[in-house]
């Protein structure tokens, strides 16, 4: 970028700019870097400097039934919500991209709206609506609302993938006698699978990280990991939350790497499909 004939002022500008950008990157990553070492602190307050190291907070995390129950609940709710959101969202995305029908753009706006409506409103509304139906403080209610929050991610991601999908492949299948359902499962789905999976991952993250709706809608038995974290930060500050945070960070690294891998695969597929 820097030209050899740059004036000193330009050089200064160039380095200042680069320094600024590196500063922003540090700002982004710093919180993740500071919380990890704290989880190995032996001190019972969440602060630096660390005087001595221990695994006591990991022990506290993995032996405490509240933390383990909340992890288990997250592992029930998030996959169930993801499945529901992915199936419904993928089917809807196929419909949205296959033809124009009246009110389509309005429909799209509605389907994406769970992403922007303030979660507090969703949480309070869901509680008011579900409590008389007996669905408040239940896994089913929580799964349904989490799925609703995850739907936009699936719809967006899968629609985007479908726009890159060659519709002639469907026509080819149809002309060879494949019925639409057969064609979907044997032709469309394998090709858009990376998009579906990454949409699913987004939906998973949306549920796995959700705390506000859970705060209102879940009973003590449905406490999820973020809900437990929230209580940990607000009510019971102990370095156990640093241990839980470290576990969650590892988890998000796995999610991110999976997604990046899928993106690479999807791009390869798309270029291969259009080349064919």
């Amino acid at each position: 970028m820097l030209q050899p004939y740059a004036t000193p002022l330009e050089k200064l500008w160039f380095y200042a700019f680069r320094l600024f950008c590196i500063g922003v990157l540090v700002f982004l990553i710093l919180p993740l870097l500071v919380i990890v070492p704290l989880s190995f602190s032996a001190d019972s307050f969440l602060m630096y400097p660390i005087h001595s190291f221990s695994l006591r907070w990991y022990e506290a995390f993995f032996t405490n039934s509240e933390w383990m129950d909340s992890l288990k609940n997250s592992m029930i709710v998030a996959p169930a919500a993801t499945l529901l959101a992915t199936v419904l969202g993928t089917v809807a995305a196929v419909g949205l991209t296959s033809a124009d029908f009246p009110g389509k753009s309005f429909m799209m706006t509605v389907l994406i709206s769970p992403m922007v409506v303030p979660v507090v409103i969703v949480g309070v509304g869901a509680y008011l609506f579900f409590a008389p139906l007996g669905l408040a403080n239940s896994y089913l209610g929580l799964v349904m609302v989490h799925a609703a929050l995850g739907v936009p991610f699936v719809v967006i991601t899968v629609s985007a993938t479908l726009r890159g999908f060659n519709p002639n492949l469907v026509r080819a299948s149809a002309s060879l006698g494949g019925n639409p359902v057969y064609t979907f499962f044997r032709v469309t789905l394998p090709l858009i699978a990376p998009g579906v999976i990454s949409g699913g991952l987004f939906a998973f993250a949306a549920s796995f990280d959700e705390v506000v709706v859970t705060l209102f809608l879940a009973g003590p038995e449905q406490t999820t990991l973020p809900r437990q974290m929230f209580a940990g930060i607000k009510e019971n500050i102990s370095p156990t939350i640093a241990a839980a945070a470290t576990v969650l960070i590892l988890f998000s690294i796995v999610l991110l790497l999976t997604l990046e891998w899928l993106r690479g695969r999807s791009e390869k597929m798309r270029t291969a499909a259009s080349a064919a």
Partner: protein
Amino acid sequence: MNMTADAPLLAADGVPLAVKLKRAERRKKLRAALLVAPLAVFLLATFILPIALLLYRSVENPEVPAMLPKTVSALAGWQGQGLPDEAALGVFVQELTAAKDNKAMVGNAAKRLNMEISGYRSLLTKTVRAMPLDPAAGPLREQFVNIDERWAEADYWRVLRHQDSRYTGFYLQSSLDIKRGADDSLHMAGDDEAIYLKIFGRTLWMSAVVTLFCFLLGYPLAYWLVNLPTRKSNLLMIVVLLPFWTSVLVRVAAWIVLLQNEGLINGALMAMGFVDSPVQLAFNRIGVYIAMVHILLPFMILPVFSVMKAIPPTYMRAAVSLGSHPIPAFWKVYFPQTVAGVGAGALLVFIMSIGYYITPALLGGPDDQMVSYYVAFFTNNTVNWGMAAALGSLLLIATMALYTLYARIVGANRLSLG
């Protein structure tokens, strides 16, 4: 020639092709709509109806009409001066007596009336406990004043008379700091009592500040990343995406550690000699801004990055080679091409900001809370559904207005997810 032009083109089964095509097209549309239907129904049940119910709750007013239906209609004839007449008081006594064993009903009505005049709760429960009254023991007016002197004040009766409808604008008015005066006219609350308009203003202001900082930090970074070699920029992009994928609560916890008085930031500032004593960074506005910008920054970087990626670098080179200085060239040639991405990112960040609850709740003080906090406060701390619903409705209207704008300008399906 003419013959073929007039006769419609027929398909193999003799139906005109145009008709058949239209039919096929219609079938296709129907199928598309049917595919969307399950999700639409699902969202209706889990998302749209609950929110509709919430909106309804902001105008619902069942408590007093349920307990004292005849009293409120009997009070319609009351002139607004002194106590109501004996007949109306008789009805009141009847209904109070009937409600005596229903603690929950009395409790709800007392709570509703207490919102109008503080102290009405104890007045009503006390009066219910004194029931029944014996009409033979003297005028009911006197008996009521004997139970509590406050019954002699017209204000209490006026408030009761006003409870004649199952619907009320009370909560929405209160959410906008509008009060009802003694003469039943509406006026803006005084400086001491006004609170929610300020909170709405604060919510918008804080969201604007967060959006601005996301732009100031995100735009240069996106520009830098776009102009780096692909391998390097992909690697650095992970630094942007990793926080994006990390739980918001993890990040809030980390910021508390960083920002507290003896946290790392203050330690560094003092070690470098910038300050002598710790600066307060957590549990105030600064802490909320820092954490919110951190959480929302990727939502700005990603759309801006993808727009920049599509701009051929040759444009800038052309401008510079034609004699333009790089900075004006940037402003005149490059920046206008990125405005769409900036707009999309900024609107998204702003929309998400105005609904924030968790971050201010955990990292802010009482004067850093936004509207969502009060929705949660009224739900959890005082079980005042009406106020929670009214504030929520106003917040929802603001959000939906912005979102519609977003959908118009950017297109809802263009929300970028990186």
